[in-house]
Amino acid sequence: MEYKDYYAVMGVAKDAGQDEIKRAYRKLARKYHPDVSSEPDAEDRFKEVGEAYEVLKDPEKRAAYDQLGANWKAGQDFKAPPDWDGGFEFKGGDFTGGDAEHFSDFFESLFGQREFHGGYSGRSTRGFNARGEDAFAKVVIDLEDVFTGAKKAVTLTHREIDADGRPVTKDRTLNVRIPKGIRQGQHIRLAKQGNPGLGDGESGDLLLEVQFKPHPRYRAEGKNIFLDLPVAPWEAALGATVEVPTPGGSVDLKIPAGSSGGQKLRLKGRGIPAASPGDLYAVLQIALPKADSDAVRDAYRALEKAAQLEPSKQTGGG
């Protein structure tokens, strides 16, 4: 396993005071909180920061961590020395608990195990049945998946206690059929795939929050989809019928004469499918022909004479 430099994670010096560490934590927690942050690796960073703070906020754990020595480098292969924590007392140490189950193997090799041993006695309670907890996770899918009801392999990581009472990380992969018409931010419910129940209690449900992968062509907003549609100036000015790609297949779209750039044309019912499906909006983008030949340059000059348009003089004034 790799050594973790908790001071580097928190961006503080090794002799930072407890107040400074707390301030650094608060700041980083706000920055990387998965519900708040738009950073792509927010969730991993948030867990890392939480783990570092768990150790550094507690003078006992911090002292024990410090005496591992200053010569370790982040990422270096690490094995806890035997009896490394001799003379330190963490028992009953105050764990924030929040996401303790996501702490790294490095953390657990130092501080983790006795806590898990202690906390896992509930199973032996006889005759007690309770439904398991519902579990939450995120799943990233393609926009097209909600049109076809595609199958998707979803890998989830969870912690289990093995036969020796040690926490181990396990992956499980579920093949999930994406329900047609699901939208960004909604949840796919998989019955009884959450945490196991106690006794005869059944497992909880698994709720997967749907997030769409950014698509090069489409943008989803609620049940509507937006698409930029480049058209030639004469198509916008004179009207035309053009083929438009949609996630459900290509369709012909009639562009009315006198259309302009930025104008939205609605294709009813071509958005995300549902009992009342969303719409698809084609946003017109005027593509100007390059003046890279005499013929095109002449045509521009002819248009200049005929149209007599000086748009820069029409700005301002309101």
Binding site: A29, G98, R177, H187, I188, R189, L207
Partner: protein, 106 residues
Amino acid sequence: MMATDNRTRTLAGEIFEEDVDLSLADLCRLFRLPAEHVMELVEEGIAEPSGNDPAQLRFRRISVKRVRCALHLQRDLGVNTAGAALAVELLEELERLRARLQRLDG
């Protein structure tokens, strides 16, 4: 620990938000929260149920996302309920603006 091996079969998911509305008890069960805590979130407008009598309250499932977000903020950042409500509203506004910006940027 997981009862069944799911590798071989495909699980049919359903859209959670399109199911019937949740009762107060359902929401408490979902988040392992006492009713008082849920009612605190209601008072701050984080969840907006229909009905008046606690037994008759019905929560739209879309509020599950807001409630979960608020609970995470309370737990992880130490904000109080009013602060969490404010943050949830600002985050939703931010999401709307980001989507709009993305649309304009193309």
